[in-house]
């Protein structure tokens, strides 16, 4: 038998039959290259675990505590920044209106009433226009199209959900 199958057996490092082992041992006596791979494989198989110095867990605790403290600090900083930004936005947006309310409350209240009234009017006009448009469009759309649109939307939703599921499942390392 030539050299190649023996080298393949060694590089695959899988279990061999008794007969294969005999043939391999005979080959190893004459082949330095295969002997080196065999010796290296043997060294790999003599598993010796390097162990950490005693007190690994005790040394981990302060690290974890420091990380938690840092997280808390970051959260507090984030809250402060958010609140400050919110207050600044509120001041920028509602500042003039608040000033007006303090200076002349009657004018401010009438402004608010006009604003609320205009919002309601706009909403009712939009509703009316929408219903007219729908009525007009319903005559143009063939019967069954609504079902087709709904089925299409549903299929797209299912496709999106399955893609998201696959994407979330794939990588597991942190």
């Amino acid at each position: 038998m030539n050299h190649q199958p023996f080298e393949d057996w060694l590089l695959e490092d899988e279990s061999l039959t008794i007969q294969q082992q005999r043939e391999l041992h005979a080959h190893l006596r004459s082949c330095t290259s295969c002997s080196a791979i065999a010796a290296s494989n043997m060294a790999l198989h003599t598993k010796h675990l390097a162990i950490p110095l005693p007190g690994f867990t005790e040394r981990f605790q302060p690290r974890l505590a420091a990380w938690k403290k840092d997280q808390l600090r970051r959260q507090a900083m984030g809250t402060v920044v958010l609140v400050a930004a919110g207050l600044a936005l509120l001041y920028a947006g509602a500042g003039p209106a608040m000033l007006q309310a303090v200076r002349s409350p009657a004018a401010w209240m009438s402004n608010v009433a006009v604003y609320v009234l205009s919002v309601f009017t706009m909403a009712s006009v939009a509703g009316h226009v929408g219903s007219v448009l729908l009525r007009g469009l319903s005559g143009l759309i063939p019967p069954g199209a609504g079902w087709a649109v709904a089925a299409g939307g549903f299929s797209l939703g299912v496709l999106w959900a399955s893609m998201m599921r696959r994407r979330l499942r794939a990588p597991q390392g942190a």
Partner: protein, 199 residues
């Protein structure tokens, strides 16, 4: 020790005690992987601690369908690979054992101190050779031989396909064999001048 699943579930609900029990249970395997990858006791300790910290941070993402140990080793392997990529120069590791900073589990099968010495030398030699492998190949070899991971588990841990793992293991074994052979011929050359002349 409580059931691992239970401990993981408790850790996911924020129990520090449960997570500490998991650190106790897996510290050796994680540390060993980091040591074989980085080749230095100090870096290995730091990397192992960082691995557990990352595991704590991302424990909510852990999928119960997968062994917890493999998930931890995956974090450790990725961290070490990143760290090695950032490293500008290689480090030798053989002095660490001499300095007594690395402890190894005793081999109960060792029949004599002489044989144990030879085996120890071989282990140190192998540790030196490991440092010369590509970082992903090294991770694959360590997971395969020190952590008894299957090819599928290695593939999952290193985000590779099973055939890529097979090919990496194949290449790494060949490289280790070549290094072993080189070292053998170097040792023989070094011994020759001290041998008696053949006349």
């Amino acid at each position: 020790m409580k059931d691992e699943r239970e401990l993981v579930a408790q850790a996911q609900h924020g129990s520090d005690e449960a997570f500490t029990a998991l650190v106790e249970a897996y510290q050796t395997h994680v540390y060993n992987l980091c040591y074989r990858m980085l080749g230095e006791a100090e870096s290995a300790e730091d990397a192992a601690q960082e691995t557990f910290l990352r595991a704590f941070q991302h424990i909510q993402r852990y999928d119960h369908g997968r062994p917890f140990g493999t998930w931890l080793l995956s974090i450790a392997a990725h961290y070490c690979i990143d760290r090695l990529r950032r490293r500008r120069f290689s480090l030798t590791s053989l002095d660490d054992d001499e300095a007594g900073r690395v402890l190894e589990l005793p081999d109960p099968a060792a029949p004599s101190p002489e044989l144990e010495t030879v085996r120890r030398e071989q282990r140190e030699q192998m540790q030196g050779f490991l440092q010369q492998l590509n970082s992903v190949d090294r991770a694959a070899i360590v997971l395969r031989y020190w952590n008894d991971c299957s090819e599928a588990e290695i593939a999952a841990a290193l985000n590779l396909t099973v055939s890529a793992v097979k090919s990496r293991l194949h290449r790494a074994r060949r490289e280790l064999g070549d290094l072993w052979q080189e070292e053998g011929s170097r040792t023989n050359r070094a011994r020759r001048p001290h041998e008696s002349p053949a006349f």
